[in-house]
Every structure is written in structure tokens, then in C-alpha cells.
């Protein structure tokens, strides 16, 4: 069943307008793990923000479950690369914030029912805390007392607490060191399998995209003046050997660099 429909979407910025995305057409089914890849400036983050609703297309529509969403809301969870946690809240309060804020307004915080519910949210949050590999003693820490990897773990738990149907991750692991990154990749794969959430994951790392995704979409410009289009839409094979993965990575990289450059580079190699 199609959950996200990106219908002939173009977006242009600046004056004179420069097209970033040019007539993108995509159907994303519920439960898919989509990796959006491409070079810097190809508009992959822009496409993510269009799905998020924080930006509007110049042309075309983005439909989520058949409806247009003009602003971010709780159907789509979001994990950015930076500033993903509220610095003024402890780890525990960060994780429970979504549940608290969707059930209780500012005045609701004064009612006794809030404290009762908060205890339930916290119990649930401790469950997530263990799943993402943090200890209970981390619950009282503030985000800047955690390492970058830990912060992103908490950010994922925070986004999953409200059970969004779609999880949008924008270069979520790109600032992490390789070892931490591997662990995070395994974690998000596991959480994706357990929760069945549809994930849209933006990265510039082809290897990461192939490891994580069930489907990899490459955005690339045909010529420098044009906006990016879908250059490749690849269903990742279920069991992908090392050799095959290396070949695929290479293929994805050449496509994202653009065919023109590839042709120029080929004779030099042979």
C-alpha cells in the first residue's frame, strides 16, 4: 500500500529561481526502508523536508496516506544530524516529551492525571532506554553530557515514543565515528524490523545506504543547470554478498557522480 506519494514534485530556490528538484515522482510503500543518496547539493535533504512538511514544493504534491500535510506533525518522526535533542531536558524528559506534549497542554501539566500518566510514560521510556543500549543512570543526564552517538540513540527513541508511521532521518549518523556508526546502523535496522515503521533515510554514504535500505534512491543532476531527478531506484537484494555489495556501491557512486563524468573517467582507467 502506498504510504508516501511524491507526485511530480519540483522545487526552486532563489532569484533567479534555480531548480533543485525536477519533477520527482515516487511511491513509497508502508514498511519500506528507503535510503536517499546523492552528492552534496543534489537536494536529498530538500526532498526529506518536503515529506516532513517544513518546506512546500513549487510544483506538484506530496501526499501522505492520501492527504497533503502542510506542516510537520506527529505522523512523521524526525531525527536530524544535529540539534536533535532539547538541551534543557534530561534524557528521560526528552524521550517522554512527545507523549507529554501530545496529551497535555501547558494547563494540563497542573492536573493530577498528568503525574499519573507521566509515570507510565517514564516506564515506557525506560524500556526504550534499555533497547537503545543506555543504562538507567543515563536517564538523568543532559544531552551535552552524552557522546554524539548516545545523543542520536536518544533522539531515535524520542522519535519512536510517539509511534509515528514514518521516520525521517537526515544524515542522522554522518557526524559519528565509524565504530559508533556501525552500531547505530544495526540498531536502526533492528528497530525498523520490530516496529514496522516506514523509514526515509538520507545519507551520502553509499555503503551505509546499501546496508540499511530495502530500496536505494539515487538523486543526481543530468546537467549542472537542471534540477536533480531520480537517477536510479534500486531494490536492494535480500542477501547481498560482499563482492556484490562492493560492485553495487561502485555503481551507485558512478551514477550519483553523473554519467558525463563517468564517460570522461572511463578511458583514463583502461
Amino acid at each position: 500500500m502506498t504510504l508516501i506519494r511524491i507526485d511530480n514534485v519540483s522545487i526552486a530556490y532563489g532569484n533567479p529561481p534555480r531548480t533543485v528538484l525536477d519533477e520527482i515522482d515516487l511511491h513509497i510503500d508502508e514498511g519500506e526502508f528507503i535510503c536517499l543518496v546523492g552528492q552534496t547539493g543534489c537536494g536529498k535533504s530538500t526532498l526529506l523536508r518536503l515529506v516532513l512538511g517544513s518546506e512546500q514544493p513549487s510544483q506538484g504534491r506530496v501526499l501522505i496516506d492520501g492527504r497533503e500535510h502542510k506542516r510537520p506533525d506527529s505522523t512523521r518522526g524526525y531525527v536530524p544530524q544535529k540539534y536533535s535533542l532539547f538541551p534543557d531536558k534530561t534524557v528521560l524528559d526528552n524521550i517522554t516529551f512527545g507523549c507529554e506534549v501530545s496529551e497535555f497542554g501547558l494547563l494540563g501539566l497542573l492536573t493530577p492525571r498528568y503525574y499519573q500518566r507521566r509515570a507510565e510514560f517514564r516506564a515506557q521510556a525506560y524500556g526504550y532506554l534499555r533497547r537503545i543500549g543506555l543504562t538507567e543512570s543515563d536517564a538523568k543526564k543532559y544531552p551535552d553530557q552524552l557522546s554524539g552517538g548516545m545523543q542520536q540513540r536518544v533522539a531515535i527513541a524520542q522519535a519512536l515514543m510517539t509511534k509515528p508511521r514514518i521516520l525521517l532521518m537526515d544524515e542522522a549518523f554522518s557526524a559519528l565515528d565509524p565504530g559508533t556508526r556501525k552500531g547505530m546502523q544495526r540498531l536502526i535496522r533492528q528497530l525498523w524490523r520490530d516496529t514496522g515503521t516506514t523509514v526515509l533515510f538520507v545519507t551520502h554514504n553509499m555503503h551505509e545506504a546499501l546496508f540499511l535500505g530495502t530500496r536505494v534512491i539515487v538523486l543526481a543532476k543530468e546537467t549542472p543547470e537542471h534540477g536533480s531527478r531520480v537517477a536510479l531506484d534500486l531494490a536492494v537484494p535480500e542477501h547481498c554478498g560482499d563482492e556484490e555489495a562492493a560492485l553495487l556501491t561502485h555503481r551507485l557512486e558512478s551514477i550519483s557522480e553523473g554519467s558525463a563524468e563517468m564517460e570522461a573517467a572511463t578511458p583514463a582507467i583502461s
Binding site: S54, P72, Y78, K82
Partner: protein, 285 residues
């Protein structure tokens, strides 16, 4: 050591830090009393540079005796009766009241600045006007304020409000603009509405910086407060200083100046401690 002195890489030891940092205090005090002693030798009636005894006597009188305009206390009054009936207490109380009121009025300024930074239409509506208003020299409005609000409390409070609030509004506005957009988007995706984003995410985040900005503006608040008190008032610390200046009461003026500095230092310290205690997550950049 001798070569390392006055270099970028030099590291003053604890002892030298302590002695060097108090050097100017000591030098200033010494220079004052030297001048005072010299002037008193030349002219025993000297009033511009009172000696330590004169200042101590002046401060003692201020702190334990009622002001000239008030009735004398009974001879058998207790110490607390003397303190609370004293000139210093009366003036401090009057100034503190005005100061506290103006600080309270800075709160709406913070809220307004936050809304301006967060809600584009509120920003568009107010920003130009506040930027313009910020450039008006508040003291130049004083005659108009006296006409509009009378010469009593309200005009003095309004002077402070007009002088300081535009700065606070613009500061809160800039601090709000400085909150990463990811935070706002994230809050929305977690189910927050506009109101939640404003008061549970953004305001909480900018609050420690706002407090710091208010601390920096304490000086401006006092400046406007003193200007108002000196020009039109019947009590207050600045009123007393202006009054005593007329008959060269330097033996009271100098202790008053130091007393005001001490009070302001304590307010600043209290705000800094409160900031650290209320916002343990906040690291000063």
C-alpha cells in the same frame, strides 16, 4: 620567569593572580587617602575629600538616624527601630521598589521578543517599530514623560521601561532566532502545537541567556532609575546623592555610591547563582 612575564603564554600563579588583581583597588584607596590627608592639612574645613572617620560617621548617621525631612526617633528606640527608621533604609527601600517594578516589567518584553522571533507576523508587526524605538534616547523623552505620567512614580518607571525594554525585546528576539530550526520542527513532529513550541521548547531554552542579557542591562536600568530619581523625587538613593551634593555632603555621598555598587553586585550575583541553579544544563559559551 622574568622573560615569561607579559607574554601571551605566561601563566600567573595563584598568589600573583591574587596580589596583582587587587593592586588597583589598593592603589586607588591609597591615592584617595593620601590626597584627602594632604587637603585636610592645607584646609581643616575641607569637604570634598572626607577622611575615613568622617565617612564612617556619615554612614553611621545615615544607617541609624532618620533623614533630615523626617521626625527624630525617640532616644530609647531599639537598634532595629533605628535601622528601619533610618535614612539609608528609607532610600534603599524606595529605590529597590522602583527597581523591582521595572524588572517585573521586563518580563513582558522577553515574552514579546520571543513571539517576534517565532511568529513571522508578530515579528513583521513589531520589529521595525522596536528598532526605531530603540534608537530614541530615553532621557530626551523625560519632559514628555513628566507631562504624560506626572512627576511621581509612574514617570520614573516608564523612563526605565522605555530605556531598557527595546534592548531586551531585541535580545530575546535574536536569541529566539538563534534556536536551531531543527528544534522547532522536532517539537512539531512530537505532537506539539505552536503554544507548546513557544513556551515549552523555545522559551525554556533561551531563558538562561535572557537572564544573562538582563544582568548585562542592570547597569542601564540603574542609570535610568537614578536619572529619574535625581530629577524628580522625594526619596531614593539617587535623590539623596543629588540633595547632599548641594551642601557638599561627600561624607555621605561616597558611602552611598559604594553602597549602590554593593547592592548591584549582590543582585547580579544572585541572578548568576539562580541561573546556574535553575539551569544546570546551561553551559556559558
Amino acid at each position: 620567569m622574568a622573560t615569561a612575564f607579559l607574554q601571551i603564554h605566561s601563566k600567573p600563579s595563584r598568589i600573583s593572580t591574587l596580589t596583582i588583581s587587587y593592586f588597583l583597588f589598593a592603589a586607588g584607596i591609597a591615592a584617595y587617602f593620601y590626597t584627602a590627608a594632604q587637603r585636610h592639612r592645607d584646609n581643616p574645613e575641607e569637604r570634598v575629600t572626607p577622611t575615613l572617620q568622617q565617612m564612617a560617621q556619615g554612614f553611621y548617621d545615615a544607617a541609624l538616624k532618620p533623614a533630615e525631612e523626617d521626625a527624630d526617633l525617640a532616644d530609647n528606640a531599639t537598634l532595629s527601630q533605628r535601622i528601619f527608621g533610618s535614612m539609608l533604609w528609607k532610600d534603599t527601600k524606595a529605590t529597590s521598589r522602583r527597581f523591582a517594578l521595572s524588572m517585573l516589567l521586563l518580563l513582558p518584553a522577553v515574552i514579546l521578543g520571543m513571539h517576534m522571533g517565532l511568529f513571522p507576523y508578530v515579528g513583521v508587526f513589531f520589529l521595525r517599530f522596536v528598532l526605531f524605538f530603540d534608537k530614541i534616547v530615553a532621557l530626551s523623552l523625560l519632559p514628555i514623560l513628566f507631562i504624560a505620567f506626572g512627576i511621581d512614580e509612574l514617570s520614573k518607571i516608564m523612563l526605565i521601561v522605555i530605556g531598557v525594554t527595546p534592548t531586551i525585546i531585541l535580545d530575546a528576539f535574536n536569541l529566539t532566532k538563534g534556536v536551531p530550526p531543527e528544534q522547532v520542527v522536532k517539537a512539531f513532529t512530537l505532537g506539539a502545537n505552536d503554544f507548546d513550541v513557544a513556551y515549552r521548547v523555545v522559551l525554556k531554552q533561551i531563558w538562561p541567556r535572557v537572564l544573562n542579557s538582563i544582568r548585562l542591562n542592570l547597569k542601564a536600568v540603574m542609570l535610568f532609575l537614578f536619572a529619574g530619581e535625581m530629577i524628580a523625587s522625594t526619596d531614593g538613593l539617587a535623590y539623596r546623592i543629588a540633595l547632599l551634593r548641594r551642601h557638599m555632603g561627600m561624607d555621605v555621598i561616597i558611602p552611598y555610591v559604594l553602597w549602590v555598587a554593593l547592592l548591584l553586585f549582590l543582585v547580579d550575583l544572585a541572578m548568576r547563582m539562580a541561573n546556574r541553579w535553575l539551569h544546570p544544563w546551561f553551559r556559558e559559551a
